[in-house]
């Protein structure tokens, strides 16, 4: 197994790299705000075993997805090959690599949820939002997708709506979920 090297920031080396225009080209465009956020995530999980996946979770939770620059930054700072980070990112359906819609509707399609009718939840969402699995509505308001097991098999079929998990979801619950978000958005506006 690839051993995680202790997180170490060597700003001196870092700055030297950044000054060299050809080296580390993709990171030059990194938004300072994003960089600050990634640095905070790194500090929070510093030195803990198995921290990569937790840091990636943290970035996605705060940013909505894991931008490529963030992965490049992590690779350098943690001494983990970029290839390994992408192996993790693409293995789990949970992680997003591009900006999602404002609200995420995730349907678990793991074995238990599948058997308990997650397919019907998906069809209902597709019908109500007029998009397909993995797509985002034109107004970028809703993104829906199915993922493999989210680890809540006891509550099958399960859905995650904006980081809140719902268990034993019935097809008739779906319309209400969407409506509540819409109303909230309207009142905020």
């Amino acid at each position: 197994m690839y051993k995680l090297r202790k997180i170490r920031f060597s700003y001196l080396i870092w700055e030297t790299f950044c000054m060299n225009a050809s080296a580390l080209a993709p990171m030059e465009t990194m938004d300072p705000e994003l960089r600050g956020m990634v640095e905070r995530c790194l500090q929070e999980w510093e030195g803990r075993e198995g921290n990569l996946i937790m840091i990636l979770h943290e970035i996605q939770n705060r940013h909505g997805f894991v931008p490529r620059e963030a992965s490049l930054f992590l690779a350098e700072a943690m001494g983990i090959p970029m290839a390994r980070i992408y192996e993790v990112l693409t293995f789990y359906h949970y992680f997003k690599l591009i900006a999602p819609g404002k609200h995420n509707l995730t349907v678990c399609n793991g074995t238990a949820c599948y058997l308990k009718g997650s397919g019907r939840l998906l069809t209902e969402l597709e019908r109500r939002l007029s998009i397909k699995d993995g797509e985002t509505t034109e107004d970028r308001m809703f993104h829906m997708e199915s993922v493999r097991c989210i680890g809540c098999c006891g509550m099958a079929p399960a859905m995650v709506v904006d980081q809140k998990t719902f268990g034993k979801v019935a097809v008739t619950d779906v319309a209400g979920m969407i409506e509540r978000i819409r109303l909230q958005e309207e009142s905020d506006a």
């Binding site: 060299n20 050809s22 080296a23 580390l24 080209a25 993709p26 490529r68 992965s71 490049l72 090959p81 970029m82 290839a83 390994r84 980070i85 992408y86 192996e87 693409t90 293995f91 690599l97």
Partner: protein, 587 residues
């Protein structure tokens, strides 16, 4: 007392092997070959293909022989009707995800999957075919990656990540979606890939092959306006024969010269000549740094383009340590289009220089920097790997094995034994030390000391301390890029502590075994084969009357009549290059 070996039975035959030996290896010791598509002798088992299943006593499971250690008293059966049936089904499942495109595939006739299907007598498609069509990646110009032909054995990833420490390739996604690709949706040329081609040398199918440029060369040979010249690398001579049934390590230099002339090349040069030239420049550089203190130590060799690429991407703090001497291929190219053109009165614009290399990264080296155009033209026009040359010879209808030996063209063809061993790991070091010794002491190494044995062998890192006229010269050799980091970290540590460097001279070759194990060599590479190829080179060196680069008469003439002094102004302009830090990921 802890037992160090286990006794067991395979198909009723008694075996005794060291503890921890896999069933697959143990079976080989009693001449039993268990079929496998994913286990490669160089690599750790991935247990991916499922073909090597066997039956063992006291278990109803069918363990995979590659990833199961044989145990004391175990009875193993490797072949029976049931095992064959299960293997056959597994193979049919693999084939059902593989395009039926053997006739147009780069591995046609030399493919492990095709061979397995032939062995199992597969005569029809039993399972409906599902092939994931993805565009082949041709971005590197060195290798072509066609994912649709991948059987997900994981060898390329194992070799790229663990053996080479490059981490260009990874397994992305999972299940039926799994594919090998660089991190994210980028092309190989935008990834840390160094084009060493070890993935292509280890791939069991046609999913990763060299970029075949034989058509370009045929076209050039037919063009009456072009004056086609050719050079062959040291390691090609001991490997090409494998494609024609010769035992590995057979030195076929004379036959290769003959066949190249028959193919239509007007002048046949030898990269080994340029290896001698590289040594003169590099040994002079070493003496300048070591004796006169001009420049950084350790001096690090730079004739391997994959290593150069790797260093520029990963270890750019070592830029000043790199020898600025060009690789032999590029040196020969520039000499052909300047010195040779001048001597023969040929317009260098007409010269079309082909080089035959064991290497896929050499295809990239051609346009690496502006210095690769030092003659005013592209110094080398196209690179063929050993595999491509074998293909051209077979296409040409020339009975290669029956050809009488010929000599190379004399201006850029004479070489020393020191040049020959360039093709093996440690060879550049050894050749350079032979000449550096002469430069420092003014006399040659004694006959029995010419073979510098401590730098030979196949251990990943080898180091030695040599006494040169009372001076301690510390050298190290690494091959296979996973061995480089430890070595360079030692140097870094000394640098941080402001101490003397642990080594004065370091040789690095990207491919395990050096060029003889290059990514463009005939298939089937493993340490056994590497040893045989190295043996071939060492024997040729030992048999040569000329064993020092600096004694090569053509090299001496070249400096006297054309180049002037080693490291002089002209030599610098034509024979040296520069390096720059590069981003591992372009995006």
């Amino acid at each position: 007392m802890i037992a160090t070996s286990v006794k067991a039975k395979i198909n009723g035959l008694p075996v005794e092997v060291p503890v921890g030996t896999s069933i697959l290896e143990a079976a080989r010791s009693v001449q039993v070959e268990i079929p496998t598509l994913c286990k490669h002798r160089d690599l750790m088992p991935t247990a991916a293909c499922g073909l090597c299943i066997v039956k063992v006593s006291n278990s109803r499971r069918l363990p995979r022989a590659c990833a199961t250690a044989i145990e004391e008293g175990m009875e193993v059966w490797t072949h029976d009707a049931e095992l064959t049936r299960v293997r056959r089904t597994t193979l049919e499942l693999i084939l059902s995800n593989h395009p039926n495109a053997c006739l147009t595939c780069g591995r046609n006739g030399d493919c492990e999957l095709q061979g397995m299907a032939a062995d199992f007598g597969i005569r029809q498609d039993c399972i409906p075919r599902y092939v994931r069509e993805l565009e082949p990646d041709t971005s590197t110009g060195s290798i072509v990656m066609d994912f649709s032909k991948c059987i997900k054995c994981g060898r390329c990833i194992e070799v790229c990540q663990e053996k080479q420490n490059v981490w260009a390739l990874s397994f992305l996604q999972r299940g039926i979606q799994t594919r090998m690709a660089p991190a994210g949706d980028i092309s190989l040329s935008e990834s840390p890939c160094i084009r060493c081609g070890q993935c292509s040398a280890h791939c069991p199918t046609g999913a990763i092959v060299e970029n075949d440029e034989t058509a370009t060369v045929w076209e050039a040979l037919r063009d009456p306006d072009k004056y086609c010249t050719v050079q062959i690398a040291p390691s090609v001579r001991v490997a090409l024969g494998e494609a024609f049934g010769y035992p590995p390590g057979t030195d076929l230099t004379g036959k290769i010269y003959a066949v190249l002339r028959r193919l239509g090349f007007k002048a046949v040069f030898d990269t080994t000549f340029a290896a001698d030239l590289t040594i003169i420049e590099e040994a002079s550089e070493f003496v300048q740094r070591f004796v006169h203190g001009k420049g950084e130590l350790p001096l690090i060799t730079s004739c391997c383009p994959a290593w150069v690429d790797f260093m520029e991407k990963r270890y750019s703090d070592f830029l000043p340590n790199f020898s600025t001497a060009k690789s032999p291929q590029q040196m020969l190219g520039v000499m052909a289009k300047t010195y040779f053109a001048e001597q023969e009165g040929i317009d260098p614009a007409r010269i079309y220089q082909v080089s035959v290399m064991p290497c896929t990264a050499k295809k990239y080296e051609l346009e690496r920097t502006d210095e690769m155009f030092a003659s005013g033209h592209q110094d080398v026009d196209v690179v063929l790997t050993t595999r491509e040359l074998a293909r051209m010879i077979k296409q040409s209808g020339i009975a290669f094995k029956e050809l009488a030996d010929q000599e190379a063209d004399s201006v850029l063809g004479t070489y020393s034994g020191a040049g020959v061993i360039f093709g093996a790991t440690g060879g550049v070091m050894e050749a350079a030390l032979r000449t550096a010794y002469h430069r420092i002491t003014g006399k040659n190494l004694e006959k029995e000391a010419i073979d510098i044995l401590p730098v030979r062998g196949l251990e990943g890192v080898r180091s030695a301390t040599l006494n040169v006229a009372g001076n301690e010269v510390r050298v190290a050799v690494a091959h296979g890029l996973n061995h480089v980091e430890t070595l360079l970290n030692q140097v870094r540590a000394a640098r941080e502590r402001n101490e003397e460097p642990p080594y004065h001279f370091i040789e690095v070759m990207a491919c395990p075994g050096g060029c003889i194990g290059g990514g463009g060599q005939p298939y089937g590479v493993c340490d056994e084969l590497r040893k045989q190829r190295i043996q071939g080179l060492m024997q040729s060196d030992a048999a040569m009357p000329l064993r020092f680069s600096h004694e090569n008469p053509e090299i001496q003439t070249l400096y006297r009549d054309f180049l002037g002094e080693p490291l002089g102004e002209k030599a610098h302009k034509l024979l040296h290059t520069r390096y720059a830090a590069r981003a591992a990921y372009k995006r």
